[in-house]
């Protein structure tokens, strides 16, 4: 039988990862369905597994002067229920809308990121939070901005021998986050499109805006021209700003969930709704 490793220390985990290249497994909510999908058409898949679930120190949220460190294995339920500041309101809203409660209890933030699905609900939030990925190998650690870590459709910069140990979110005092998801049913639904944003005010004016859209391009994208256009506005003025031209970084496609044209239109509406939410 192909090996299944379940190390009890990070050191062992990294050593196994380096020596065998075994596939990291966290909540398994992406890996198990993938196995099932492949088996259904006679393509059984039993990779060598590096189960991270018994490695201490990979879960939970810590706050420091620099910001927050969200352990790789932190589940969506933990994020939804953590006492986090309004900066995280978008990420927490996403946490409540990923799958159903069962998936939220198991699925992890790093698993969502490494799967790098265009429809991963965590990803636009991490982009809007300016999060960095903390990566470790047996020989050291490095950090990469989430935008640089995601290299393409279901592709990342995760190197051989590497695992994600945490997501790092820098402080952004007074900022608030929001998230808007669009799906064809209430629960257990993959996004047709979604938008995430973080807004920081100075006085009654927008001082900083970080806006990202998911499921409308191979990788979720920030929208720099929209972000610039928001600076200096009063919050009540924000909803009228998003225009189709702001979506230039996106490349919506048509699939079973929606047409490309709808995605493009819906993204603008979601952005307006998202920004209207900040004004409330």
């Amino acid at each position: 039988m192909t090996a299944y490793h379940r190390p009890r220390t990070l050191h062992d985990a990294l050593a196994i990862r380096a020596a065998t290249g075994a596939l990291p497994l966290a909540g398994g909510t992406d890996i198990h369905p993938l196995r099932t999908a492949r088996a259904a058409w006679g393509d059984p898949w039993r990779p060598e597994i590096l189960d991270l679930s018994a490695v201490p120190g990979l879960d939970g949220i810590e706050e420091s002067a620099e910001g927050w460190r969200i352990g790789a294995r932190t589940t969506w339920t933990t994020i939804a229920e953590a006492p986090l500041p309004p900066l995280f309101d978008g990420l927490r809203a996403a946490a409540r809308e990923i799958g159903g409660r069962q998936v939220q209890n198991r699925g992890t933030i790093a698993g969502n990121l490494v799967t790098a699905s265009p429809a991963g609900d965590g990803i636009p939030n991490l982009l809007a939070l300016d999060a960095e990925v903390e990566l470790a190998t047996a020989t050291g650690t490095r950090r990469l901005p989430v935008g640089a870590f995601l290299t393409g459709y279901r592709a990342t910069a995760l190197a051989a021998g590497e695992i994600v140990t945490a997501l790092r979110v820098p402080r952004c005092d007074g900022a608030r986050g929001r998230f808007a998801k669009l799906g064809a049913r209430r629960y257990l639904v993959i996004s047709i499109a979604m938008a995430a944003g973080v807004i920081r005010m100075e006085g009654d004016r927008i001082a900083e805006a970080r806006i990202a859209v998911g499921a409308c391009s191979p990788v979720a994208r920030r929208l720099p021209t929209l972000e610039e256009a928001l600076i200096g506005l009063h919050p009540s003025e924000m909803p009228r700003v998003p225009q189709p031209a702001h979506l230039a970084p996106l490349a919506p496609i048509g699939d079973v969930r929606a047409t490309a044209a709808y995605r493009a239109d819906a993204a603008v509406v979601l952005l307006r709704d998202l920004l209207a939410g900040f004004a409330r």
């Binding site: 039988m1 299944y4 379940r6 497994l25 909540g27 398994g28 909510t29 198990h32 369905p33 099932t36 999908a37 088996a39 259904a40 058409w41 006679g42 393509d43 059984p44 039993r46 597994i49 189960d51 679930s53 339920t77 799958g99 159903g100 409660r101 069962q102 998936v103 209890n105 198991r106 669009l182 064809a184 049913r185 209430r186 629960y187 257990l188 639904v189 993959i190 047709i192 009540s236 909803p239 009228r240 225009q243 079973v256 969930r257 929606a258 047409t259 044209a261 709808y262 995605r263 239109d265 819906a266 603008v268 509406v269 979601l270 307006r272 709704d273 209207a276 004004a279």
Partner: protein, 914 residues
């Protein structure tokens, strides 16, 4: 060995550490209360608690459960006990396959939150799919359990069962998690069978050396067409067995079985299909009816040169003349998609070979006697050699009328002479099993100046996929029903069932009528609009009723309660319209809309004999047994038929035990389809029980009104003046009575004239929707249903059928679209979740059917039919857009609302009160 702690008990189990916990629980530890509906996190049937939190056991690697506390439905726990009771009392378990998952998700919730509100319950249950109940009774049950407010079991006296909202008699095992479905049991040492299926929609193929492959792969056998001992053919129609068990060099759809791999579970699972000696020669595929009917399209079956399987036809009056003189005319083209049954239990079962050609097959099914015929033909043995023992059925909705695993198991068990078991994977189930026919409809309708309908015409093409299955039934049922439950003097309906290279379409709750109703009800709205009439008013004016003549020329002598259904809805309709008007006066983006639709549905087969036979025995030891061949697929026939039999006999229902649907033990009660079990089998049970009562009364020389009481083997017969006691033990033989009932019908002539059904169900529904016009999303907020059920034998179960029908109708309208190769799992194929359901209110109309038992008639299918058209009517009311294609996915509605336009100023998202 992996050590697991399940419900407080430590177990050591050998398993691949990556194997899903659900699999280890079921196959490793025999804890089959935890169900598997998808193995992908999509259905929640496998929900267990891990460290007290609900998780999908199919997403947990067994190794991850080591050291954790796992709680399954088998647990003993006071709170869980309360939930079980509440589920039973509320009718929250229909087929019961989702029940273990629902119970565990509820337990997780109530431990976190002892007093949840409705929204919290929906949140907690959002990850568990139920295809039967529409979630209402489940949510109520959880709220009841939280409040500790659980209805006490109803004790019914003799003669009081019919009409009582009794919990289902087979419910205890469902809430305990001990019910045995197709995949829950198998003989020791059974070989596993896995079908290798075509990845191509249309292809020729040749097979290489299978024996060598078998040896190389360590399998017990590799089966192909050449191994089928009898005829390599099955199919629903008596004279058209067009589907092979194993394709013979040629496949007509993606998902068709080509080979059967037999061996240990691990061995068959480890085989890569690409390594098998199959040389494929893909052919251009005919997807959709237009391709199959196109000039020069290849012929898919020799018996259908133009790819038309069958035509249906009904004609009465002079449609052309009526259209020419009408005041208002409406016309439209409509399209519906393939719809998947999405029963949460994938097909499963096992077969045990016997001596002398005998074969026993246990599997989930809706039609044991038909399964027997199919298996016998494939084996080349007489029907009597095959015994079908239905397992509990985790949902059917028409999809388990056709055989699935049965012929494959039969062949495999015969060839190897060993017991064999098989469980379809979710994707295999979806790719290979039948679907609702996609319909392409062109319909016209006309009315006079008073809004009276004068003419209706429909041309409909139904994509029957690669094989006939129930295509002829659909093609024949639709012409009879298509003009709707209205008086229409001039009707001309023509249908075709067309072969394509798509997944076979078969029977699905309503047999084509739901598709046709989408067209008809839209035209009714058109006519109302053209004439400036209210949509309720035009329906009420035309509603067919007692004494009216159907387009088949049938006079409705009795039990035609559509006018009463509409009257029951009128106050709520008016209130809904007022609410919509008030809301929309101030809201531009989020628009409300009210919609309405009606339906009728003939119970039983269309102008074909469909008898049921029931036997009831009062044995000398005092046991009273109903030999009931009707399989209960969750809809409740076991309970309803027992209520009927008990009251007809005059003994309390608790005295009755049942033997259900074993072809060796029960007489033929036909299929569980066409809303016929309450009506047809119920009537046979009533007649049998009455005959037994007559024998008892004769023995006691007692009058009709005598009261019976059974105490052990002492049967007391109390007449007005005398009381007699019969010592059953002293009789020479058990007392037995049998009765057969075949609903009276008259064959249809070339113009579809005759008496196709002995009785019809009628219903009307109104729907309130909220449309976000910017995103073009639709939320159904409210549905009020009125349904004429003849007699409500069990109002609790009827409510469950109506809720479930509405849920499926909502799915049909808004989200369900099976696309072969693309939405073959419950991740991409969406069915409603607990959060998608509206509030539902029900008015039952009881216009008794003289043919039916205690006046009852069918309930199951009718509830689904009006839902989708009522929702479409409401969307139109909200947006002005007349949708002619379902499902109304957001992008489809958006396109019609005028996509791309920025929302008008002032920005609607900022509108006050939004």
């Amino acid at each position: 060995m992996i050590a697991l702690t399940i419900n407080g008990t430590r177990h050591e189990v050998a398993a691949d550490p990556l194997a899903p916990l659900s699999d280890t629980l079921r196959e490793g530890l025999g804890l089959t209360g935890t169900k598997e509906g998808c193995n992908a996190g999509d259905c929640g049937a496998c929900t267990v608690l891990m460290e007290g939190a609900q998780v999908c056991a199919c997403l947990i690697s067994t190794a991850q459960a080591e050291g954790a506390e796992i709680t399954t439905v088998e647990a003993q726990d006071p709170l869980l006990g309360r939930l079980r009771q509440a589920f039973l009392a509320r009718g929250a378990a229909q087929c019961g396959i989702c029940t273990p998952g629902m119970l565990m998700a509820s337990l997780d919730l109530l431990r976190r939150n002892a007093a949840p509100d409705r929204a919290a319950v929906e949140d907690a249950l959002g990850g568990v799919l139920c295809r039967c109940t529409g979630y209402q009774q489940i949510i109520e049950a959880v709220l009841d359990a939280a409040r500790g407010d659980i209805a006490a079991p109803i004790a019914t006296e003799a003669g009081a069962a019919v009409g009582a909202p009794l919990p289902r008699v087979d419910g205890a095992a469902k809430v305990a998690g001990t019910e045995r479905y197709g995949a829950d049991a198998a003989p020791d040492g059974a070989l596993w069978l896995r079908a290798v299926r075509s990845p191509h929609a249309h292809a020729r193929f040749t097979l290489g050396d299978l024996d060598a492959a078998r040896d190389r792969l360590g399998l017990a056998a590799i089966l192909s067409a050449r191994d089928v001992p009898g005829r390599n053919a099955f199919g629903i129609m008596p004279d058209l067995k067009d589907q092979p068990v194993f394709a013979d060099g040629y496949v007509r759809y993606r998902g068709e079985a080509v080979l059967g791999l037999l061996g240990t579970r691990d061995a068959v699972a480890a085989v890569r299909d690409a390594e098998l000696p199959i040389a494929w020669d893909p052919q251009p595929a005919l997807h959709g009816v237009a391709a199959a009917l196109a000039e020069g399209a290849p012929r898919l079956h020799d018996h259908a040169p133009d790819n038309v399987l069958v035509r249906g036809h009904l004609r009465t009056g002079d449609v052309d003349a009526a259209f020419a003189t009408a005041t208002a005319r409406a016309e439209g083209n409509f399209r519906t998609a393939f719809v998947e049954h999405a029963y949460i239990e994938p097909e499963a079962g096992f077969a045990i070979p016997g001596a002398g050609g005998a074969m026993t097959i246990a599997a989930c099914t809706q039609a044991p006697v038909m399964d027997r015929e199919e298996a016998a033909r494939v084996l080349g043995v007489p029907d009597e050699a095959v015994r079908i023992i239905p397992t509990a059925c985790g949902g059917g909705f028409g999809g388990k009328l056709d055989v699935s695993v049965q012929p494959l198991l039969a062949v495999a068990a015969r060839v190897t002479n060993r017991p064999v078991r098989m469980t379809y994977a979710r994707t295999e189930s979806m790719a290979s099993s039948t679907k609702r026919h996609p319909a392409t409809l062109h319909a016209r309708m006309a009315a006079d100046a008073q809004g009276r309908f004068t003419a209706f015409a429909l041309e409909g093409d139904f994509n029957t996929g690669a094989y006939a299955s129930w295509g002829p039934t659909v093609a024949n049922r639709v012409p009879v029903h298509a003009s709707g439950p209205y008086r229409v003097p001039n009707v001309w309906n023509r249908t075709r069932a067309v072969y394509t290279n798509d997944t076979p379409a078969g029977a699905f709750r309503g047999f084509g009528v739901p598709q046709a109703a989408i067209a008809t009800e839209a035209l009714v709205d058109d006519l109302a609009e053209a004439l400036g009439m209210d949509r309720w008013e035009i329906r009420r004016r035309n509603a067919i009723g007692k004494g009216d003549i159907t387009p088949s020329g049938q006079v409705l002598h009795a039990s035609a309660g559509l006018p009463e259904c509409l009257d029951a809805l009128k106050p709520e309709w008016d209130a809904m319209l007022a609410r919509v008007a008030a809301h929309n006066a101030t809201q531009r983006r989020h628009r409300l809309g009210a919609g309405i639709a009606c339906m009728w549905y003939g119970c039983g087969n269309t102008a074909l004999s469909n008898p049921s036979t029931m036997r009831i025995t009062l044995a000398r030891d005092g046991t009273l047994t109903l030999f009931n061949g009707a399989v209960d697929i969750g809809q409740g026939s076991t309970t309803v038929i027992a209520q009927i039999a008990a009251d007809a006999l005059g003994l309390p229902i608790d005295a009755l035990r049942q033997v259900i649907g074993d072809t060796a033990l029960t007489p033929d009660a036909g299929k569980t389809s066409a809303s016929r079990q309450t009506f047809v089998s119920g009537r046979a049970a009533q007649d049998a029980a009455r005959a037994l009562r007559a024998r008892i009364l004769a023995l006691a020389n007692a009058g009709e009104a005598a009261r019976l009481a059974l105490d052990g083997a002492r049967l007391t017969i109390a007449d007005t003046h005398t009381t007699r006691v019969i010592d059953l033990a002293a009789l020479d033989a058990d007392l037995t009575a049998e009765a057969r009932y075949d609903p009276p019908t008259v064959a249809l002539d070339a113009d579809g004239q005759g008496i196709p059904y002995a009785t019809y169900g009628f219903a009307a529904q109104i729907a309130l929707v909220r449309v976000d016009t910017a995103l073009a999303t639709v939320k159904v907020e409210e549905i009020v249903a009125a349904q004429d059920v003849g007699r409500a034998v069990n109002p609790l179960l009827i409510a469950g059928q109506i809720h479930g029908g509405i849920a499926q109708g909502l799915g049909l309208a808004l989200m369900e679209e099976f696309i072969p190769g693309r939405t073959e799992n419950l991740h991409d194929y969406l069915i409603p979740t607990a959060g998608d359901m509206p509030r539902i209110r029900i008015h039952l109309v009881e216009d008794p059917e003289p043919e039916g038992p205690f006046g009852a008639k069918g309930v199951g299918e009718p509830a689904l039919v009006p839902t989708a058209p009522a929702i479409l009517s409401a969307i139109r009311h909200a947006t002005g857009v007349r949708m002619t294609e379902v499902p109304v996915l957001p992008h489809r509605l958006h396109e019609r609302i005028g996509g791309g336009e920025p929302p008008p100023n002032p920005l609607p998202s900022l509108a006050p009160g939004d």
